[in-house]
């Protein structure tokens, strides 16, 4: 187990190293000069040059790459070009919105998906099952930003139950914060819940044909009881995989939803930073997101190996 973990760790570090080069190179070739963007139409070339020097942009790419990576290793992500505040602070602030939003959406999706998936599986083949699966198909097909727009029209503009967006900060207490995240979380959760219920159902359905289930049924348990007592645990592996994937997706993939609801989260930070050519922010945030995804994958892999020793061989 330890050897397996070490091997995976080495490949994780390798992936991070490669990713840092890819990210840096990609951002290096983006046309557009942050200094020129900041100074606008009337700025003289020498003014732009002065600002470039002030921002440390006049160093060569290799020097800047080394600078960036060594900084990151020490937890220093540099200073934002446009906002002139440390990137780590900005990311920290934004993470307090993106992380709760991702968790909120994930919680919603799990709360919906588990019972729905179990219900569908226990009624396999009936009209209930077909109906539920039809609904989940619809849920998968709805673009989340479109769903978000509809939610805003109904619940913010017409009913006024929620504000149309924005974030009051956690300073005012837990409730206002959660309230502001509710519509975005619902918009994000709908497709995820649909996918998760489908995975849940099919994992359980696979279990139904296993011998131990037949035994359980033979002991007189109903299909539903047998599912909950015996199959659920075994069905958790595929479900956990999807949850892991969804978490990383939600953390990085909320860009559009954050824009619809103008939430100052990581996604919107990066969207703005690209537009403003605040490249150091783009680099660092992409790197953090990539790190998060690789880390989650790593942990999920380890969890598998712990559950199922056969997987360690590969």
């Amino acid at each position: 187990m330890l050897r397996y973990a070490l091997k995976r760790l080495v490949s994780l570090l390798g992936a991070l190293a490669v990713a840092s080069v890819v990210v840096f190179a990609a951002i290096e070739v983006i046309p557009g000069d942050p200094a020129a963007y900041m100074l606008g139409l009337n700025a003289a070339p020498e003014t732009v040059a002065a600002l470039r020097a002030e921002l440390g942009l006049d160093a060569g790419p290799i020097a800047r790459y080394i600078n960036w990576v060594t900084g990151m290793l020490q937890g220093d992500f540099g200073i934002s070009y446009t906002y002139r505040t440390p990137v780590s602070e900005m990311v920290g602030d934004r993470l307090w919105i993106s992380l709760p939003l991702a968790l909120y959406a994930l919680a919603l999706s799990t709360i919906i998906a588990f019972p729905v998936g179990i219900w569908a599986a226990s009624k396999r083949g009936t009209s209930v099952d077909i109906g539920i699966m039809g609904f989940t198909q619809l849920g998968v097909a709805i673009p989340n930003f479109w769903f978000a727009m509809i939610l805003v029209v109904i619940f913010a503009i017409n009913l006024r139950w929620f504000s149309a967006g924005g974030f009051p900060g956690w300073g005012g207490g837990l409730f206002p914060g959660l309230k502001a995240l509710t519509l975005p979380a619902i918009a994000l959760a709908l497709p995820q819940a649909s996918i998760l219920s489908r995975v849940m159902r099919s994992a359980l359905v696979d279990m139904l044909d296993q011998d131990f289930m037949r035994t359980a049924r033979a002991k007189g348990l109903t299909q539903g009881q047998a599912l909950r007592r015996h199959a659920l645990r075994n069905a958790m592996i595929p479900v956990l995989t999807i949850l892991g994937l969804q978490f990383s997706f939600l953390l990085a993939g909320a860009i559009i939803i954050e824009n619809v609801f103008f939430l100052p989260g990581l996604g919107r930070l990066i969207f703005q930073a690209i537009a403003q050519r605040d490249l150091i922010v783009v680099e660092s945030v992409v790197m953090i997101l990539v790190f998060a995804v690789i880390l989650v994958t790593f942990l999920v892999d380890l969890a598998y190996a712990a559950v199922d020793p056969r997987l360690r061989v590969h």
């Binding site: 046309p31 557009g32 000069d33 942050p34 020129a36 963007y37 900041m38 100074l39 606008g40 139409l41 009337n42 700025a43 003289a44 020498e46 003014t47 002065a50 600002l51 020097a53 002030e54 446009t82 906002y83 002139r84 505040t85 900005m90 602030d93 934004r94 727009m149 805003v152 913010a156 503009i157 017409n158 009913l159 006024r160 504000s163 149309a164 967006g165 924005g166 974030f167 009051p168 900060g169 824009n259 619809v260 609801f261 103008f262 100052p264 919107r268 930070l269 690209i274 537009a275 403003q276 050519r277």
Partner: protein
């Protein structure tokens, strides 16, 4: 489904209104990157701090005129080479430091210094020296007469700061204005509070919050829900009729300094031919663009000058919408079968929507356009710096910027000795009538040369609670001066 709930909630909202309010929440579309107007071009900075937090020697008033600010009065030497400013006494910065002539000297010299990062450095390049004669007197000497100096000193980029605050201005601005910086929740809002020690008439508001809402739909919802009290530049003109019909709101339509033009690369293929540019001018239907892109808000212009300026000449009649004439001109220029060019559009909706309409109008006379929607950074790189474009749409929001037609290296690359000669004479003129005559001649010249397609003057379309008084109606500079703003009882 919408109207019913709207009206119901409206009545609720109205009855809640109570006692005298002295706090204001203002919605802005863009959050400033930082709060030092002398270190970036972002208009969003001035929209928060101009006249509220920082002041310069002179300032723009709501009608666009230049008024004394930190300078009480001034004398101009007969040769126009030297300006002597008498400063107000008893003025302090928000941190308690006293405002003196040394601060003026420091601020202006910082602007013109070698390593200056001031976005408008070019405006002040004619300043040879700044001398503090005594605590309340400053003399500025120029290398050549500059009739626009007082005007230029009113820009947000020329505000006076204290040397000891330079390093911290970006996050915690310190000025001499009627409001003090209080708090900044990044990504959300900035808070200002009244400055009790202000030298002039104190502000009527005690607190002003600027809330940043970039998405037009969200801005609409925020106003409707009462999350913000006013949106001085409301980003979606299509929503204005709804506000207009709602008794809770005032729709404030004013003018800006933004000449919105179909910028034409005068050195690019067929566009270098004056007849082709004239054809484009006749192919354009200004009213259709104003209706389609701005939902009717905007004033047609026929040259690069603000219609509310006394020196404006209405030249829209020179190029009426006439597709047949456009086709004839194209044929005369050898493009009977039309040609293809690029149309590069920056993000604002006037450009994106206007671009689609213009593309359709040009298609009608045989000119095909390849549209690409660009971000500002890409636009700056490709269009403004790289001059790699055929056509683009942009609103030139700098006040009195007709001088760009005398710069052959400017992005639309118009090289005309006639205009250059006219403009170079302007700087040394101090008689207003002479200046007006020159400005009008330049307006005619660029219009008759069809340098760019002149579309419309951008309107300032604001929405505010009906009880708010004293907001600027027009936008002589991009600012939200809150000095005079109050809630009507």
């Amino acid at each position: 489904m919408k109207t019913l709930t709207f009206t119901a909630a409206m009545m609720l909202g109205a009855s809640v209104a109570a006692a005298q309010q002295t706090e204001l929440t203002l919605g802005l579309q863009l959050e400033p990157p930082h709060l030092d107007p002398t270190g970036a071009a972002a208009a969003a900075i001035d929209e928060v701090v101009y006249a509220n937090v920082y002041e310069g020697l002179t300032r723009f008033a709501a009608d666009g005129s230049v008024r004394p600010a930190l300078a009480e009065s001034w004398d101009i030497s007969d040769d126009g080479m030297s300006y002597t400013f008498r400063l107000r006494s008893g003025v302090t910065f928000h941190d308690g430091a006293e405002f003196t002539a040394e601060d003026v000297k420091f601020s202006l010299e910082r602007t013109t210094a070698e390593d200056s990062t001031n976005a408008q450095k070019a405006l002040f390049e004619g300043i040879e020296s700044v001398n503090a004669i005594d605590d309340t007197t400053v003399e500025i000497t120029l290398t050549e007469p500059d009739g626009a100096l007082l005007f230029n000193l009113a820009w947000g980029d020329a505000v006076i700061i204290d040397e000891s605050d330079v390093e911290t201005l970006k996050q915690a601005p310190v000025g001499t204005g009627p409001f003090k910086f209080s708090n900044w929740v990044q990504g959300d809002s900035i808070e200002l509070v009244a400055n009790d020690a202000y030298w002039g008439e104190p502000a009527k508001l005690t607190k002003a919050t600027f809330k940043f809402i970039s998405d037009p739909t969200a801005a609409f919802a925020a106003l409707m829900a009462g999350d913000v009290d006013a949106f001085p530049v409301f980003p979606a003109p299509e929503n204005l009729p709804q506000f207009d019909a709602d008794p809770r709101f005032n729709v404030i339509v004013g003018s800006t300094e933004g000449e919105t033009i179909l910028s034409t690369n005068n050195q690019n293929g067929p566009l270098a031919d004056k007849r082709v540019r004239q054809a484009i001018a006749h192919a354009i239907d200004r009213q259709a663009i104003i209706d389609g892109a701005m939902f009717g808000y905007g004033t047609p212009i026929g040259t690069h000058f603000a219609p509310h300026n006394p020196a404006y000449v209405d030249l829209t009649g020179l190029t009426p919408h006439d597709p047949e004439k456009a086709k004839a001109l194209l044929a005369e220029a050898g493009f009977a079968d039309g040609f293809t060019t690029t149309l590069k559009l920056p993000p604002p909706s006037y450009a994106r929507r206007g671009g689609e309409i213009i593309a359709a109008q040009l298609r009608n006379v045989g000119i095909q356009t390849e549209i690409s929607n660009l971000e500002w950074a890409q636009w700056l790189e490709q269009v403004f710096r790289g001059k790699d474009f055929g056509l683009t749409i942009v609103s030139h929001t700098e006040p009195m910027d007709i001088g760009i037609y005398a710069r052959p290296d400017y992005y639309f690359q118009y090289d005309d000795p006639v205009v250059r000669a006219m403009m170079s004479g302007l700087a040394s003129m101090s008689v207003p009538e002479d200046r007006t005559a020159v400005l009008q001649a330049v307006q005619r010249r660029i219009s008759e040369e069809y340098v760019n397609g002149y579309l419309f003057q951008l309107a300032k379309t604001g929405v505010a609670d009906v009880r708010i008084k004293g907001l600027w109606e027009n936008s002589p500079t991009q600012a939200n001066d809150l000095t005079e703003v109050y809630w009507e009882e």
